[in-house]
């Protein structure tokens, strides 16, 4: 498809995605619209993007709208994506929470925009790999995504051979997954630890907090700036006063929000701007 082809239809589809999800499709991804929608069009015997847009405009096509939105969302994810962040969470943040939350023995983590579940299960695996540390604790792992199909896949915990190898060590793979043909399914014990459900960061209230950790990684980059600021505000509203926020490697708070500042304690993580500057070991002293 060249940029000129189906331009009107593409513009409508981009507008639909933004209206429904807040996600702005970058210009360099617009050319992929037709490719992304091909399976949907094939399933509904629709030949062209123009025909698809016409069908979307007719009444009673809510299901088709959902399918189109799902297909346009970027659900790429893999286990332990940016392992430095996961190391920081495992080695320092969770260790400090064991101390600061020792009285209640509770910890809450929200994975906002969890896609197909790999990062949520990565957190679950890290915690499950250290059962002695968390014995007697009540740990709440909430994972949400706007994509219905992504949540269904996350809940199934079934990954292809290609997906299972992305970022996951072989020892964790054999410990926490069962082979089903050429696919791999997360063990029930781990699957039950994560509460997955469909949720829009833009149009729905956040899950009930407060959360000690919120991961919203590789989500905000798809939003327009004003939407990002609004989402930051919502994340702030449910982050515990001493909680931490994790973003994707290519994402920042700079120029986006005044609700958060760099943690100062944990590498690559953020804290509430209205929270105390530091509650744990400074970075230099932690090594």
């Amino acid at each position: 498809m060249t940029p000129g082809d189906n331009e009107g239809a593409c513009r409508i589809l981009v507008g639909l995605l933004e209206a429904r999800t807040g996600q702005a499709l970058a210009p360099d991804r617009i050319w992929r619209i037709e490719t992304a929608l091909k399976p949907v069009m094939r399933n509904h015997a629709i030949d062209t993007l123009d025909s698809l847009v016409a069908k979307l405009a007719s009444e009673g096509n809510r299901g088709l709208v959902d399918e189109v939105i799902d297909a346009l969302l970027n659900n790429e994810s893999y286990f332990f994506r940016d392992h430095i962040v996961f190391d920081e969470l495992n080695d320092r943040v969770f260790e400090d929470l064991r101390v600061s939350n020792a009285a209640t023995r509770t910890m809450s983590v929200w994975m906002a925009g969890c896609s197909t579940g790999q990062e949520a299960y990565s957190i679950a695996m890290m915690l499950a790999d250290a059962p002695h540390k968390w014995r007697g604790w009540t740990i709440r792992l909430v994972a949400t995504d706007i994509s219905h199909s992504a949540i269904v896949k996350a809940q199934s915990g079934l990954y292809t051979q290609f997906e299972i190898q992305r970022g996951l060590s072989v020892t964790r793979m054999v410990r926490w997954f069962d082979q089903e043909g050429s696919d791999w399914r997360i063990k029930e014990e781990l699957r039950n630890r994560v509460d997955f459900y469909q949720h829009s960061l833009l149009s729905q209230a956040p899950p009930a907090g407060p959360f000690d950790v919120i991961l919203c990684r590789n989500v905000l980059l798809y939003f327009a700036k004003a939407v990002r600021t609004e989402v930051f505000s919502r994340l702030h509203s449910v982050l515990a006063r001493n909680g931490v926020l994790g973003l994707g490697a290519g994402e920042t708070i700079l120029g986006q929000t005044e609700d958060f500042v760099p943690s100062g304690t944990y590498r690559g993580l953020y804290r509430r701007a209205d929270a105390p500057a530091a509650r744990a070991r400074p970075i230099a002293a932690a090594k």
């Binding site: 893999y78 290609f162 190898q165 992305r166 970022g167 072989v170 020892t171 793979m173 054999v174």
Partner: protein, 121 residues
């Protein structure tokens, strides 16, 4: 620069792996079977060995067992890279001392991730 010995009887796989590894700044050497790989390790021990399972002359598992017998102080990391994708083979490889396991087919991101996991990338 890290070094990788690619051990596979398929010329195509060796070529693909070399292309990816050189893109990751590895110095790459090749061997067609386990015996050639063992000979290569006697001359120069690489940082990591990307190891096929089924090969003529000496299999990947036989190579790994022979390598373990050498008790090298600087034993290379072993990453199996094979079409033997069943859990029994994977467990056998781990039990024999493999550090990672790549199930073919693979791509650049998968291989790079596995090399990071064993600490050579």
């Amino acid at each position: 620069m890290k070094s990788c010995l690619v051990v596979d009887d398929s010329k195509v796989i060796r070529k693909v792996a070399r292309h990816i590894l050189e893109g990751l700044d590895f110095a790459v050497a090749e061997a067609c079977d386990g015996q050639e790989a063992l000979d290569a390790c006697h001359e120069s021990v690489p940082d990591v060995v990307l190891l096929d399972w089924n090969m003529p002359v000496m299999s990947g598992m036989e190579f790994l067992q022979a390598l373990n017998g050498l008790n090298l102080p600087n034993r290379p990391k072993i990453v199996f890279c094979t079409t033997e994708n069943g859990i029994a083979h994977i467990r056998a490889a781990i039990d024999a001392g493999a550090d990672e396991y790549v199930m073919k087919p693979f791509d650049r991101d998968t291989l790079e991730g596995k090399l990071q996991l064993v600490g050579v990338a």
